[in-house]
Amino acid sequence: MATVSLEAVGGAHGYLRAQTRWRRSEIAFWLATLLPFLLFPAYLQLASQIAITALFAVSLDLILGYAGIVSLGHAAFFGLGAYTAGLFSKFGWGEPLSGLILASALAGVVGYAASFVIAHFRHLALIMITLGMGLLLQEAANSASELTGGVDGLQGVRMRPLFELFPFDLWGRTAYTYSLAALFLTFLVARRLTHSPFGLSLRGIRENAVRMPALGAPSRTRVRQVYTIAAAMAGMAGALLAQTTLTVSLEVLSFQRSADVLVILILGGAGRLYGGVLGAIIYMVARDQFSGINPQYWYFWIGLLLIAVVLFLPNGILAGLDRAAARFRRRSP
């Protein structure tokens, strides 16, 4: 990021306001998300999956990219939201919007409880505790097979039409509209958060968690707050998946899903909200295109990609693009 003298942009408030201004590329990007309706009407189900994955990645970005909390168990909240939404509709409450909000709220409450543990640890112990909590929840869901269906997955999820007007059809038109709207609204919240003083204090905590309290930003409180928000967002993503695919399997809680979303975020670029979205688009489209090959070999390429990104492309594709653009601008005055 270029250093800007504060006076030049009108003080701290002016700086923050300049950051929140919508850039043309951002507006173009969100308009482009409407293109699948016109260009790829056969791929709307995939587009809906992409939007859900992007929402999940953005939620991880808030804690990992901004607050610097490495989590190998973020799928716990995704799965929690998915099972909550699925179980609600299975037991008669098929209205999607309220189910979505309830699932998100429940994931947020559990995230708040977990955040008291999370805020106390850093480094290796933190990674292991998040991993352990994710596995713990998966085992619990597996054990409670009367409720969750265990390895067979949750059957019998039924959704009422959205607003009692738009049924979830086979082509995914409603599903994509619904997921995209959820992604966009949540993205607005995340964007506002990261550009606020709260977001700046999170970045400070990422860089030096011990020094931030001296500047008047209590590290642990901030970490607890952002972890709760991220958990609620991940729960919302899970609920969307359950509601649009009408099934929930144990896989929503698996380590694989936590690792996948981490890969997606790192690929796109952690610490930038669009990183998660871009990563989700690339990852999901590539997986769809290569779905002919055995999933096991798919992970071979993901592994290689991960190694390459860590070694050669620190901060992901978006940062790489930024650097390339800066070099291009320098060369042509």
Partner: protein, 287 residues
């Protein structure tokens, strides 16, 4: 009742010794360089597949394949350390995690490509398949052999760390890396050798594990969790701690599976999270 209890205790201890072999190398290297190597179990898997290949395709006897499994894992890890891991010693935990997870993905897919996803069989020689009967208790020879091998490794390791010049360098590097460098110890070199030795032990553990827990491409992920539990509970760079933690984990896992099978692995994860919250540096850790 009492005989089943002794059986669980014995099987659990043998299982724990297996976990000890798999994890002791990671414990030492993690303590030395703070390098989070999630690919540790990939080297164990490599050792397992080397043994299977040598026995199946070339007809080697089981015991003769064990040193080769050790050497293959040590050699592969030394090469990877030099090429991939060394640039990342100063990098963040996250980068180290991601890179090594990438290695695990590649190794799992590679194993599936070469050997398929089926369980690999291993045909033990007759003298290892028998059982020793002692009163009303029956002890399979293979598990006795496993316990013996782990105890031998422990004795050699402790002796090497406490009584040799190389061991003194390792201890110095673990205690205070900067000071050790200041005294002219080649910490990177010591680390490379320790890393290779630790991965070699994991390879040996992987070869010995086939008979007890089977071998398929998911090994690298499935046992990673156990290894990490042992390391984080035992404390970094503490051989005694790893030994105690592995024995504890092996016995409690066996007991859990035997007495409360409906809980599955839940108990183990609960114990791990609880212990980590109580003592983030591990039961026997100093830092």
């Amino acid at each position: 009742m009492i005989s089943s209890f002794v059986g669980v205790l014995f099987d659990g201890f043998a299982y724990g010794m297996l976990l000890f072999l798999l994890s002791v190398g990671l414990s030492v290297t993690l303590g030395m360089m703070n390098f989070v190597n999630l690919a540790h179990c990939s080297f164990a898997m490599l050792g397992g597949y080397v043994t299977v290949t040598l026995m199946d395709r070339l007809g080697w006897p089981f015991l003769a394949t064990l040193p080769v499994a050790f050497l293959a894992a040590a050699g592969a890890s030394a090469a990877l350390e030099r090429v991939l891991f060394r640039p990342l010693y100063r990098a963040s935990d996250l980068d180290q995690c991601l890179l090594t997870i990438g290695v695990v993905f590649v190794s799992v897919a590679g194993a599936a490509y070469l050997y398929g996803t089926v369980q690999q069989p291993v045909q033990l020689p007759g003298y290892l398949r028998r059982a020793v009967t002692l009163g009303s208790f029956r002890f399979p020879v293979y598990r006795l052999f496993l316990i013996g091998a782990a105890l031998a490794v422990t004795v050699v390791l402790v002796a090497a760390l406490e009584c040799t010049r190389f061991g003194a360098r390792v201890r110095a590097a673990v205690d205070n890396q900067r000071m050790a460098r200041g005294l002219g110890i080649d910490v990177d070199g010591v680390f490379a050798v320790t890393f290779a030795l630790g991965s070699g032990l994991a390879g040996l553990g992987g070869a010995l594990a086939i008979e007890m827990v089977g071998l398929d491409p998911s090994f690298a992920f499935a046992y990673l969790i156990y290894v990490i539990i042992v390391v984080s509970v035992g404390g970094l760079a503490s051989i005694g701690g790893s030994f105690a933690a592995a024995a504890l984990l092996g016995i409690s896992d066996m007991a859990g599976k035997y007495y409360v099978p409906q809980l599955g692995a839940f108990l183990i994860y609960l114990v791990m999270v609880g212990l980590l919250m109580w003592r983030p540096a591990g039961l026997f850790g100093r830092r």
